[in-house]
C-alpha cells in the first residue's frame, strides 16, 4: 500500500479525507461511525490513482459500495486493500470481493436512513414535500460527485445533444435531475447517505434512494451492496417477469 485513505479531523468541527503517505501522516487518522463522506469515490479519481495502491479505512458503507462495484464489474480484485474493524475491534484486511462479502454479511444491518419525512404520506403530500425540498437545489451536483455509484464518465445531465435533463435549476429541471438520478440508483444505492450529507441545501436525497431500494427489494428480492454477483433487475429480461401492468 502506497497511500492510506481514511478520515481525519477537519476544520471547525468538520471531518475530511486523509491521504496518508508517511507514517507521521497516519497519526491524523480518526475513526468515524457516520462520516457522511464515502471514501470510495476517491478510488476513481485520477490524481489518487497516481499515488499507488491504496489502503482504505473502511466503514460498512464503503465496503458495501465496493461490493456493488464488484457486482457491476467495476472493481478489480486486489485493486485496493480495505482496513476494517471486526466485532472484536481487531483490524482485518480485505481485498477480494468474496472476502468483503463475507465480512459485510457479518455486520448488523444498520445503514438505512430514516424515512420519517415521507412515510405514510399520500402521493400529493409527497409531491408537495419534494417540491419544497427541490426548490432549494442549486444543481451543484455535489450529490453526484459524492456518490460512489455515480461513476459514469459522462452523466446524462451533462449531455446537451440531445439534452436529456434540463440543465437550469428550475422546478422542472430539478425534478428531472433528482428523479433520474434516483432511478439510475434504484437497486444500486447502498444507502451510505453521502449525497444527503454533501448537499449544501440540506435536501434529504437519501429518502428517495431508500424508497426505491425498498421497491427493488420487495419486487425483485435484491439488495445493493450485499453480494458480489447481481443480475441487475432493471437491466435483465426474465421470461417470468410479470406483464400484468401492460394494458
Amino acid at each position: 500500500m502506497q497511500v492510506i485513505i481514511g478520515y481525519a479531523k477537519g476544520s471547525n468541527g468538520r471531518r475530511r479525507p486523509l491521504f496518508a503517505r508517511t507514517p507521521e501522516q497516519l497519526d491524523q487518522l480518526t475513526l468515524e461511525d457516520n462520516p457522511g463522506l464515502n471514501l470510495a469515490v476517491y478510488l476513481r479519481k485520477p490524481e489518487i490513482k497516481r499515488l499507488g495502491k491504496p489502503g482504505v479505512v473502511a466503514t460498512p458503507a464503503i465496503l458495501r459500495s465496493i461490493l456493488q462495484w464488484a457486482a457491476e464489474n467495476h472493481y478489480q480484485d486486489s485493486e485496493a486493500v480495505f482496513l476494517a474493524l471486526d466485532a472484536n475491534g481487531a483490524v482485518v484486511e480485505l481485498s477480494a470481493p468474496d472476502q468483503i462479502a463475507a465480512f459485510v454479511a457479518s455486520l448488523p444491518d444498520g445503514l438505512v436512513p430514516s424515512q420519517e419525512s415521507t412515510q405514510g404520506k399520500d402521493r400529493a403530500a409527497r409531491f408537495a414535500f419534494w417540491q419544497q425540498e427541490f426548490e432549494r437545489c442549486i444543481r451543484c451536483y455535489a450529490c453526484r460527485a459524492s456518490c460512489p455509484m455515480c461513476y459514469c464518465d459522462q452523466c446524462i445531465a451533462d449531455s446537451n445533444q440531445p439534452q436529456w435533463v434540463p440543465v437550469p435549476p428550475h422546478a422542472l429541471g430539478n425534478f428531472e435531475w433528482h428523479v433520474s438520478r434516483a432511478m439510475h440508483l434504484a437497486g444500486r444505492c447502498v444507502g451510505c447517505g453521502a449525497c444527503s450529507e454533501a448537499c449544501p441545501a440540506g435536501i434529504p436525497l437519501g429518502l428517495m434512494n431508500k424508497f426505491l431500494a425498498d421497491v427493488v427489494l420487495n419486487e425483485f428480492g435484491q439488495r445493493a451492496g450485499a453480494t458480489t454477483k447481481l443480475d441487475y433487475p432493471l437491466c435483465v429480461f426474465n421470461v417470468k417477469d410479470r406483464e400484468d401492468f401492460i394494458k
Partner: protein, 339 residues
C-alpha cells in the same frame, strides 16, 4: 454621510413602509428544516432572520441561477428573435452582510464592462442594499484578510450596526439609502453623545493577500503543489455556487420544433465539462488544474484585470464543501509557500 439611530422595534414598520412604496423586499428567512437562512421575497407574514448565515449570498438577486435572455420562434421560413423582458422591479435586499455587499463590486466589474450586461445593469440600478454589520463571526470568516471587515460600508446604501440596547446606528451612505430613510423619516432618530460606537465582531487577519498574489504566478507550474492542495476535491460546483463573487455562466437553449428560450445558468470551473472542447480534448483534464484555475482567477487574474481580488472572505465555500477543502487553509499555504 448622514448618521441616524433606528430602534430594533422600528424594523417592522420600516419593512412595511418599503413594501407600501412598491418595493420588493428580498431578505434572509428560514426554510423548513433546511440549514441556515435563505434569501427569499419577504411578504408581510414572513419572518426576517438576521441570526443565521445564508447558505447562498444575495448574488442571485442580480445574477439569477437561471434567466431567459431571449426567445426564438419559427415563422414560415424565418427565425424570429424576441428580446426577453428584463425583470428589474425596485428591490431592497434587507439584511445583507458586509462581505456579500462588498462582493457586488466584483460583479459590477464583470457585468458593467463595455458592453454592459443589460439584465445585470437594470437589476443593479433598481436594487438598494441594506446591510447589517456582523456582531459575530465564525472561524471560517476571513473578510479582514481580503480587504473587508465586519463593519465594512463598501457597496451598501444603508449600513446598520448595533450600538447595543436594541438600537442600530444607521449610516446613510448613498442617495438610494437616503430614499429609504425618507420613506419613514419618523422612525429614524438623531444620534446622541456616545452613540456612534458600533459593536462589531472581531475578525483577525489570517494571511497576507498580497503574498498570495505575488506567489501565484511562480506557483502556477508547480503541479505537485496543486495536486496536494486539491486531492480531496470532488469536482462539484458547491464552492462556486455559494460564492458571492463567482460569476461564470453557461448558455443553454430549451426549445421544441417551433420555439424556444435561450437561458443563462450559473456555471462552475470546478466541473470537468466547463472546459471540455467539442473535439473531446480538455485543457483542464484533471481536478488539480481546475482547482488551480479557481485560485488563480480569484487571486491573480482578477486582480491584474480589475485591481481587486475575487473573494470577500465570507467563508461559505469552506462551510459548504463536502470534502472540507478549507479555502483559508489553502490560501495560507500559498502565502507561505517557498517558490
Amino acid at each position: 454621510m448622514d448618521r441616524k439611530l433606528l430602534k430594533k422595534q422600528s424594523i417592522q414598520p420600516l419593512l412595511k413602509a418599503l413594501r407600501e412604496s412598491g418595493r420588493r423586499i428580498v431578505a434572509p428567512q428560514r426554510s423548513g428544516s433546511a440549514p441556515g437562512a435563505w434569501y427569499r421575497d419577504l411578504g408581510p407574514e414572513d419572518e426576517l432572520d438576521l441570526e443565521h448565515l445564508t447558505v447562498l449570498s444575495p448574488k442571485s438577486a442580480f445574477l439569477p441561477m437561471v434567466e431567459e435572455i431571449l426567445r426564438f420562434r419559427n415563422e414560415g421560413k424565418q427565425i424570429v428573435i424576441d428580446d426577453s423582458e428584463i425583470q428589474a422591479k425596485p428591490t431592497v435586499i434587507f439584511g445583507s452582510r458586509p462581505c456579500d455587499t462588498r462582493a457586488l463590486h466584483a460583479l459590477d466589474a464583470v457585468f458593467l464592462h463595455e458592453p454592459e450586461d443589460v439584465f445585470f445593469r437594470e437589476r443593479r440600478a433598481a436594487t438598494t442594499m441594506v446591510t447589517f454589520s456582523c456582531q459575530v463571526a465564525d472561524p471560517d470568516c476571513f473578510c479582514t484578510s481580503v480587504g473587508g471587515g465586519p463593519g465594512d460600508p463598501e457597496g451598501s446604501d444603508l449600513l446598520l450596526s448595533s450600538v447595543g440596547g436594541d438600537r442600530f446606528l444607521v449610516d446613510v451612505l448613498t442617495p438610494k439609502g437616503k430614499q429609504v430613510v425618507e420613506l419613514a423619516p419618523h422612525l429614524f432618530e438623531p444620534t446622541g453623545e456616545g452613540e456612534t460606537e458600533a459593536v462589531v465582531a472581531s475578525v483577525p487577519v489570517r494571511f497576507s493577500v498580497s503574498d498570495v498574489r505575488k506567489r501565484l504566478p511562480d506557483l502556477f507550474n508547480d503541479e505537485e503543489f496543486w495536486r496536494e492542495q486539491s486531492l480531496a476535491c470532488l469536482g462539484c460546483s458547491t464552492c462556486a455556487f455559494v460564492c458571492p463573487n463567482c460569476s461564470c455562466f453557461d448558455i443553454q437553449d430549451e426549445a421544441d420544433l417551433k420555439c424556444g428560450s435561450r437561458l443563462r445558468c450559473w456555471d462552475s470551473c470546478g466541473q470537468k465539462l466547463f472546459t471540455l472542447h467539442a473535439s473531446g480534448h480538455n485543457p483542464r483534464s484533471v481536478q488539480s488544474q481546475r482547482w488551480r484555475q479557481r485560485i488563480m482567477h480569484k487571486f491573480s487574474y482578477f486582480h491584474q484585470k480589475e485591481g481587486m481580488v475575487g473573494c470577500v472572505g465570507c467563508g461559505r465555500c469552506s462551510r459548504a464543501c463536502p470534502a472540507d477543502m478549507n479555502l483559508l487553509e489553502r490560501l495560507t499555504a500559498i502565502a507561505e509557500a517557498r517558490v
